[in-house]
């Protein structure tokens, strides 16, 4: 049990708007919430690389191929930065990179629902950049104010890189929207596929206890519903401007409150998918991570061993 006096002082620090560092004392609940959040965030970045990665070899122009390459690389980079934070926080538990990555393969860490879904066309690669990155940017921009300083600092860097992702995603979508009938219908179908997953993306209307505690600890600052409303408000007009439709007949903005009405996603189905890794692509993508991490553990072991050995050589 944490010392109640230190806990009270800690909460007072948060109240004053103080930021917390990795080496500061923190209540174990705060640490555990941070680990859960940042671990999942980092792993989602890494698993989020895979749906788009499929389209790198097939990107239809040299420029698109370079850009998509760079974008997927950034996702891995964000995963790297975030995992480093989660690793530092997990040190008291004796868990580092290997353990945090093992969790993906053992199904002990969840990742965002959108990365369990299939991306069957090039338009999906574009719509992921447009809508999924758009949603992620909204969530991450909120986290710029996080009470955990290393997270807020890293988010500043990540959001700056997301700026390129946003431009890239929009550029792909705009090109398809301006293209042939076939290109436009490919785009419409992709939007139809991604809209419901995006409604789930921000989480339930009523937040769970963990999310509420994260608000109280100022790890995050907006509710799920606030984030979803901001997303709908930004993206519905843009999709409609492109002459495309959204697959939700209930979508309507209340002129008085500005709030949007929308059809609830199938909460049970998505929840089960995220919990059990039972989505259309969950297992295939975990298999890719298993290859990278588990089946190539020999590489990491070998180069560690070699580095130790070479350091011992005379003249090293």
């Amino acid at each position: 049990m944490d010392d109640p006096i230190r806990t009270r002082e800690f909460l007072e620090r948060l109240e004053r708007g103080d930021k917390i560092e990795a080496t500061d004392w923190m209540p174990s609940e705060y640490r555990d919430l941070l680990i859960k959040q940042i671990h999942m965030h980092g792993i989602s970045e890494i698993m989020g690389a895979y749906p788009e990665k499929e389209w790198v070899p097939k990107a239809p122009t040299i420029r698109r191929k370079l850009a998509l390459n760079a974008k997927v690389q950034d996702e891995i980079g964000h995963g790297q930065m975030l995992l480093r934070l989660a690793e530092d926080l997990s040190r008291p538990y004796g868990r580092g990179r290997e353990a945090l990555m093992d969790d993906v393969i053992a199904g002990r860490v969840k990742f965002h629902n959108v990365f369990h879904m299939a991306a069957p066309t090039w338009a999906d690669a574009g719509v992921i950049g447009f809508l999924v990155d758009g949603g992620a940017i909204i969530t991450q921009a909120m986290l710029l104010d996080s009470s955990y300083a290393p997270y807020a600092r890293m988010l500043k860097r990540i959001v700056a890189e997301e700026s390129f992702h946003m431009q890239h995603g929009e550029s792909v979508v705009l090109a398809l929207a301006e293209g042939t009938e076939a290109q436009r219908s490919m785009l419409q179908e992709a939007i139809n596929r991604w809209w419901e997953p995006m409604m789930f993306f921000f989480g339930p209307r009523e937040m769970g206890r963990g999310s509420q505690r994260m608000m109280e600890y100022k790890i995050r600052t907006l509710t799920n519903e606030e984030l979803r409303q901001k997303f709908i408000n930004r993206y519905v007009p843009r999709v409609r401007a492109l002459g495309l439709t959204l697959p939700d007949p209930k979508l309507k903005q209340d002129p008085a409150t500005g709030l949007w009405e929308y059809t609830d996603p199938d909460w049970d189905w998505f929840n089960r998918m995220v919990r059990d890794n039972s989505g259309p692509m969950s297992q295939a993508r975990i298999a890719l991570r298993r290859f990278a991490h588990e089946e190539q553990r020999w590489v990491r072991e070998a180069v560690r061993r070699a580095s130790d050995e070479l350091a011992r050589l005379p003249g090293a």
Binding site: P60, A70, Q73, L288, A302
Partner: protein
Amino acid sequence: MEQAMQEALIRLVTPIADDEWIVGHRGSEWLGLAPELEEDLAFSSIHQDEMGHALFFYELLHALGAPDPDRQVYARPAEAWRNACFVEMPNGDWAATVVRRYCYEVFDRLRLDALTAVGFPPLRDGLKKIQREEAYHLKHFQLWMELLANGGEEARHRLDAALAAVWPTLPDLFGWGLGEAETTALGLPSARALKDAWVREVRPRFESWHLSWPNDPPSASWNGREGAHTPHLSELLNTMRAVRELAPDAPW
């Protein structure tokens, strides 16, 4: 510029552009799959560089009268590609990838150094930045070779298997894709001389890594420099073009 010179330059630069493009494409297949996140980033940047170099060479070719870069990449049949079959081979495991990339980088540096002798200013201007990036690529894969070679039993075993698989595919890498007279006229060393220089560089390294020398690279039975490719290239090109084919002339 004389037409003969122009054509010679096109023949000289096409295999280089194609090598770099295919190396970049194969490298991008590793995205998200490297043995560690940090290596994923480094490996991806290196292969974006390679595609960037290819783009520079394709633009140079375009200025010499060849089709534009996107056409070169997306609209040429396999037999019109001049990359070495060596670079079109599937990646294999990490050890095979490291071996192939190391072999290529040593060759690429020798080739770039030789190219500075060609009296064509737009080429020479572009080489500087490319050489700088390639110097880093070479160091990267040289370090990987050293680490795997000193990495204990499993790494050793995999490295030996990789060498056995990669070595027989080496021969067509060393060619320029030009006739002998043309090679000399452009001020370039012969393919034979390039290969010898490559052996002089690689062999002592192998010794220092205690890797046994698998014999000098055999001579060619296929030759990508003449457009005779393995089925791996057509497969790669089909994948690469799958999206663009849906609307070949539309903007994407």
